[in-house]
């Protein structure tokens, strides 16, 4: 896993209180990791902070899985 993927995983584990094994690229925040819409807002804020990126609302709405988040961040960081 890339450095970005590891850091994303760490944030998800901390914010949602889920087991590390469950945080796979395919895992859906809502369906698999027990997040609600507010948890996703908080996760997006944490990603913005960690990676120094800005994730606009329309982009954030499309981030449904852990993999979506990793992909977005990889595409928007140097």
């Amino acid at each position: 896993m890339s450095d970005i993927a590891d850091r994303v995983k760490k944030i998800v584990v901390e914010n949602l209180g889920v087991e590390e094994e469950k945080v796979t690229p395919d895992a859906s925040f809502i369906d698999d990791l027990g997040a609600d819409s507010l948890d996703i807002v908080e996760l997006v804020m944490a990603f913005e902070e960690e990676f120094g990126v800005e994730i606009p609302d329309d982009a954030a709405e499309k981030i449904n899985t852990v993999g979506d988040a990793i992909k977005y961040i990889e595409e928007h960081t140097d």
Binding site: N15, G17, G34, L38, E42, M45
Partner: protein
């Protein structure tokens, strides 16, 4: 008329993370007050408080026991204390597995005096330093006072009345009184009732210190700072924590063979209509509240064996005492009266509930908790058993618990043993 009894207890206090530990420490005469460790007190006038101790302490509190990790991250300490105390009460009452039918008739009335002040303080700084886009999406519902009741109802599936009292330092007593009425009026068969507080943060301590309410003169000897009725008392010491009871309709409790601690028989409420922080100098509001509670209970002054005083360790102590003397008259001579704030500090919105639980345990065990640090009783205390320094064994059949709050709000509860 539907009768209301207490069938479960839960406590998180500066003297313990559960009922029995807190009670044992209280009866042993221990103090839960010390130097503030929660934040850097540089510049504060008051440096001491009754903190709930961390998990690694001898009688510390482990939030992981009953509060989900995710919830812990989102909410203020008062909500965490409240959820845990409610969970303890449910377990104590043997109500972990309620049917849907019962859960429709089970509700919550757990309030707080101030609510999420630490979170408001932090998020306000965050807003100013980093902008509105950095404010947590959990900010609002992690601070709201009714969110103990909300969280507890979600966790345990309680679909009955969902209520939260906000009457400053009377909150805990009003919460129990109001919930008892809901059961009596057939709104519910079971109510989780109580109060919580967690405002040992820079803004909370500074605010009460600026209001000249806190003891700021005994920072070097914290365990001696809360000294109700003593001549040298000089303001209250802030505490934190929660107290929650399970209230249940009597026949319902009996039918399921529940352990019955006590019956809530009288509830009195009044307003001082006088001043925002100072009590009426003649204690009229306090007197009216106590008289109403006794009248509702159908009891006379001679029936009360123990009074858990509001007794905050301020000048108001003598006003309350004078009011108690007028209400109980000569019968006060046969009763004991103490202020447990001497040991745990003032739990503000949690006080009335925590102290109601102490009253119940006094009846259960036949022992009254002490008023610590009462070395030089103030004038007017002569002939009154204020249980100075050490707990005392005595029969306690019925109790009166007083709570008074800023805004001039008063609540009194009368509870008695069930034969």
């Amino acid at each position: 008329m539907r009768r209301v009894v207490v069938t479960g207890l839960g406590l998180v206090t500066p003297l313990g993370a559960d009922v029995e530990t807190t009670w044992a420490n209280l009866i042993a005469g221990k103090s839960g007050i010390g130097a503030i460790t929660r934040f850097d007190t540089t510049g504060q006038k008051c440096l001491i408080a009754g903190e709930v101790k961390p998990a690694d302490h001898e009688y510390g509190f482990d939030p992981n026991k009953r509060v989900d990790h995710k919830v812990q991250r989102q909410v203020d300490p008062f909500i965490i204390y409240g959820i845990d105390a409610a969970g303890q009460a449910i377990e104590d009452a043997g109500l972990e597995d309620m049917s849907e039918e019962l859960r429709l008739r089970a509700g919550c009335s757990i309030g707080s005096g101030i609510g999420g002040l630490p979170g408001i303080e932090l998020e306000s700084v965050n807003l100013h330093e980093r902008g509105p886009g950095r404010v947590s999406p959990h900010f609002v519902h992690g601070r709201l006072i009714n969110l103990i009741s909300g969280q507890v109802s979600i966790k345990y599936g309680l679909m009955g009345p969902n209520h939260a009292v906000v009457t400053a330092c009377s909150t805990g007593a009003h919460s129990i009184g109001d919930a008892a009425r809901m059961i009596r009026d057939d709104d519910a068969d079971i109510m989780l009732a109580g109060g919580a507080e967690g405002t040992i943060n820079p803004l909370g301590v500074a605010g009460f210190a600026q209001a000249r309410a806190l003891n700021c003169s005994m920072n070097d000897r914290p365990t001696e700072a809360s000294r109700p009725y003593d001549k040298d008392r000089d303001g209250f010491v802030m505490g934190e924590g929660a107290g929650v009871v399970v209230l249940e309709e009597y026949e319902h409790a009996k039918a399921r063979g529940a352990k019955i601690y006590a019956e809530v028989v009288g509830y009195g409420l009044s307003g001082d209509a006088y001043h925002v922080t100072a009590p009426h100098p003649e204690g009229k509001g306090a007197e009216n509240s106590m008289r109403m509670a006794l009248r509702k209970a159908g009891m006379g002054p001679g029936d009360i064996d123990y009074v858990n005083a509001h007794g905050t360790s301020t000048m108001a102590d003598t006003i309350e005492l004078a009011a108690v003397k007028r209400v109980l008259g000569d019968d006060l001579a046969g009763a004991s009266m103490s202020s447990t704030k001497s040991a745990i500090g003032h739990l503000l919105g949690g006080a009335g509930a925590v102290e109601s639980i102490f009253c119940i345990l006094a009846m259960r065990d036949g022992v009254v908790p002490p008023t610590l640090n009462l070395h030089n009783p103030d004038e007017g205390t002569e002939g009154v058993d204020l249980v100075p320094l050490v707990a005392r064994k005595r029969e306690v059949r019925a109790v009166l618990n007083n709570s008074f709050g800023f805004g001039g709000t008063n609540a009194s509860l009368v509870m008695k043993k069930v034969d």
